[in-house]
């Protein structure tokens, strides 16, 4: 019996060859966008509240393997297919034509996008550890397809990515086999049932291995180095898709294994040094540092894509923080932030790639003043950065508010301060992005730039609507978040259309939005009542020191943005992680040279002797002991 889940997976599978076939023509690409719409529709038809089972299930090597999708997976799947659909639509028009002419393989791009979607759906719909690992590995490798497409810098970044990804995958693999050894089965239920009776040693091993493996995909500290370049250098649709959702698969894994299967009660058993630090405490601090550090790294970036990439890493920290606090409000905030981040991150990346599409560069020191040329893109980016910075009335504010609230209510003042520092960094760096791209002096070479084509602006603006609507009425999303919370065994958040209801303080975004707009309205009314009027002048229509300015004079430019601040924080961040990573690579190289020397020495028979002698000594030792 083919169920709704099978229909969805089959549709995603069938769309892969279609993507490879149709990606080269414009109408074909729109057809593919429609295919995503179909998949989205099929997904909506699934009942998110009850787990949907796949008809496909079989025995593999003595393990029952099957697929099922519960509300958690469904929530992530909605974001996945949505991001993919928007990315596909964004690239369907002129973007593909231009880049196709430049040598980008559109077949691989669209097929790769669809393969990613299928792999992620398989992961999100996994029904046991085998299917979880299958989905996990497929997701890791599918991401590589999108990253490799761009060539050049992307290849180095993707090599780095894949080494991290395999390391993460292998850690999950180790967790899997140790789970099997400890529990005797690879079913989710088996671990869930056996977790309370497992010894702490085993539990530590299982929890740590899974969490480490998933953290690599999340790019939590200290595994954060790979993500920004790997995602940033991918082609536009790939970048916006990967940046929106790909890394969140790690969060899904942690929510599933650590919180649902192992359970909070068990996690609390895992403490080091007589209850001083426990695993959850450790993870919250990891999450907080992941939120802070990459944000300040982002501030230093001069490539807009990298800046956003680093923010993606940092925002992941918020989500992990929310989920790992795991109270009603915090976990809801963390999960909600997944959706919110996906939306505004997609907008921001799309806007940046629209600028690249027109100007050919993402270097923040070579842009500026584009607001007059690309106003719609500017608007989209403005809305996006409001979301990213977590300011009302956009949706980023809601999820961040919930996480802050949870931190305060649960009594983590230090964590709260730390997250506020992180938000400060976010605000500063997104302003750098907006300013250096759109404000200031228009560069001479960009005089003739036009607004991005409609095929690119419309998806952006649609997403802006989503960001605004879900910001004003977060209840639309919160209902699914609550279902997802229930699915992983947490208390669901109590939501209303406008936000949260809780005894310690409610949030109603409808009111906040209304007040904000009322404020704007009052301001406008006052401005016009008082008689203020504005007149548009050309940027060059002013003069300084008696000199008329011409377009080739760079009278307003930015370089080394936030120099003072950077000077202050540099002692705190000297790239020690980069240094550690390269030290590891060097160590590997040295070990490799040693091993090579072993194979290439002059008299290979020497090793026979050494080996024999050592083995014989071992034999004697065994004889004596």
């Amino acid at each position: 019996m083919i169920g709704a889940l099978d229909m969805l997976l089959l549709a995603a599978l069938a769309a892969i060859p279609l993507s490879a076939l149709f990606a080269t023509t414009r109408s074909g690409r729109w057809l593919l966008v429609a295919a995503y719409a179909v998949q989205f529709g099929l997904l909506i038809m699934l009942q998110p509240a009850t787990a949907a089972h796949s008809a496909l299930s079989f025995q593999l090597l003595g393990n029952a393997v099957g697929w099922q999708m519960d509300a958690l997976g469904w929530y992530f799947a909605v974001i996945t297919i949505g991001s993919a659909g928007f990315a596909a639509a964004y690239a369907a028009g002129e973007w593909s034509e231009v880049n196709g002419r430049l040598g980008l393989s559109l077949r691989w791009l669209y097929a790769g996008l669809q393969i990613n979607v299928l792999a992620m759906l398989l992961l999100l719909a996994s029904g046991d550890f085998v299917s979880l690992f299958i989905g996990w590995e497929l997701t890791s490798w599918a991401g590589l397809i999108l990253m490799l497409l761009a060539g050049g810098d992307a290849i180095r970044a993707s090599l780095r990515y894949i080494v991290y990804a395999i390391a993460g995958g292998m850690t999950v693999f180790a967790g899997l086999v140790i789970t099997q050894a400890a529990v005797g089965s690879l079913q989710f239920d088996a671990l869930h049932a056996a977790a309370p009776s497992l010894g702490t040693g085993r539990l530590w091993a299982i929890a740590l291995l899974f969490i480490l493996g998933f953290s690599v995909k999340m790019a939590s500290m200290p595994f954060h180095l790979w993500q920004a370049p790997a995602y940033a250098y991918s082609p536009a649709p790939g970048s916006s898709f990967l940046g929106s959702i790909s890394a969140r698969m790690g969060l899904f894994g942690i929510a599933l294994v650590a919180i649902k299967l192992i359970g909070l009660a068990q996690l609390d058993r895992l403490s080091l040094v007589t209850d001083l630090v426990d695993l959850r405490g450790l993870l919250t601090w990891v999450a907080v540092f992941t939120a802070i550090l990459p944000t300040f790294v982002a501030m230093r970036q001069n490539d807009a894509r990298l800046l956003l990439g680093w923010h993606g890493v940092g925002q992941g920290g918020y989500m992990l923080l929310g989920v790992i606090i795991a109270d009603r409000l915090g976990s809801a905030g963390g999960l909600l932030h997944v959706f919110n981040h996906a939306t505004y991150q997609a907008i921001l990346l799309m806007a940046v790639f629209a600028v690249i599409h027109r100007t050919g560069t993402a270097d923040l020191n070579r842009l500026g003043g584009l607001v007059t040329r690309m106003p719609l893109t500017f608007l989209a980016m403005l809305i996006g950065i409001i979301g990213l910075a977590g300011l009302p009335p956009m949706n980023g504010f809601v999820s961040k508010w919930m996480i802050y609230r949870a931190l305060i209510v649960d009594g983590h003042p230090l964590l709260f301060v730390a997250t506020v520092i992180s938000t400060l960094g976010t605000v500063l760096s997104v302003y750098k992005l907006l300013h250096n791209t759109f404000l200031g002096q228009l560069r001479l070479e960009h005089e003739q730039i036009h607004e991005a084509p409609w095929s690119m602006t419309v998806p952006m603006l649609l997403l802006c609507v989503v960001v605004f609507v879900t910001g004003a009425a977060p209840g639309l999303v919160l209902q699914y978040v609550a279902a997802a919370q229930q699915a992983i065994g947490l208390e669901p958040v109590r939501y209303i259309l406008g936000g949260i209801e809780s005894p310690t303080g409610s949030l109603d975004m409808l009111w906040i939005t209304a007040i904000l707009f009322a404020g704007f309205g009052i301001g406008a009314v006052l401005f016009y009542l008082i008689g203020g009027r504005s007149r548009r002048v050309h940027q060059l229509d002013n003069y300084a020191g008696g000199h008329f300015l011409t377009a080739d004079v760079r009278y307003q430019y930015s370089d080394n943005f936030y120099a003072g601040l950077m000077h202050r924080i540099r002692p705190w961040y000297r790239g020690s992680f980069e240094w550690t990573e390269s030290a590891l690579v060097s160590a590997l190289g040295a070990a490799s040279t040693l091993a090579r020397g072993f194979f290439e020495q002059a008299n290979p028979a020497q090793w026979v002797l050494v080996g024999t002698t050592v083995i014989m000594t071992w034999v004697m030792w065994y004889a004596l002991g």
Partner: protein, 227 residues
């Protein structure tokens, strides 16, 4: 420095070997299968020389493998050295030539004798084969210009090896296991006895002789020049 380390390791190794094997019983082996073979060989195989009974009967497959190894070595040697061209060098003196001429038939007879009596007395196909090879090779030392016909050598080599296998397969066609001795055992100690063993040894002798002769010729040949 490295040699000193090697010596130290070697000393350690020989010490360990001596210690480990020191507890072995010398001169009184368990002989689990040896005993059985000694009792069964006269009736099962019929060879007076029990070593021959083992080599060609009980462990006949090892002998086939051994022939194959020799063949493999010769083939690989041919692959490495390439086909030989001419041989040069001063012809041997009168005494050498005459001596070799005299020796040739003697060695031929001696070789065949050793081969054919392998099932009765010490000796057999390998030893005899080596003597045969020497018999054919020595004249070449005396008269470097002459050369052994490689075609004939390789034909003998191939046919003798195939004959060994064919003798084994014959048993297989009769429904018995590969390499089961054929024919009657005959009288223990007689020249014509122990079934097909003498035939097998003849095949071994010819193959070994031909192979070693071609190997020797190849090694003694001159280089093909810088190629």
């Amino acid at each position: 420095m490295r040699n000193i380390a090697t010596l130290l390791l070697l000393g350690g190794l020989s010490f360990l070997l001596l210690v480990i094997t020191g507890g072995l019983l010398f001169g009184n082996p368990p002989m689990l299968i040896g005993q059985g073979i000694q009792q069964a060989a006269p009736t099962e195989v019929g060879a007076a020389n029990i070593v021959t009974a083992v080599v060609l009967g009980y462990r006949g497959l090892d002998t086939l493998g051994e022939l194959s190894i020799l063949f493999a070595a010769a083939t690989a040697g041919g692959l490495v050295l390439g086909s030989t061209r001419g041989r040069s060098g001063r012809p041997g003196g009168f005494i050498l030539r005459t001596g070799v001429d005299l020796l040739f038939p003697l060695m031929l007879v001696a070789g065949l004798y050793v081969v054919m009596h392998g099932h009765l007395t010490p000796g057999g196909g390998f030893q005899g084969g080596v003597i045969l090879a020497a018999a054919f090779f020595l004249p070449l030392l005396a008269r470097p210009q002459e050369s052994l016909d490689h075609t004939w050598l390789s034909v003998i080599e191939a046919l003798a090896g195939s004959a060994f296998i064919a003798l084994g397969l014959a048993a297989l066609f009769e429904g018995r296991a590969f390499l089961t001795p054929l024919f009657d055992h005959g009288v223990l100690g007689a020249l014509v006895s122990s079934g097909s063993l003498p035939l097998l040894y003849l095949a071994v002798g010819l193959k070994v002789g031909a192979e070693l002769a071609s190997l020797l010729v190849r090694l003694s040949a001159d280089d093909e020049g810088a190629s």
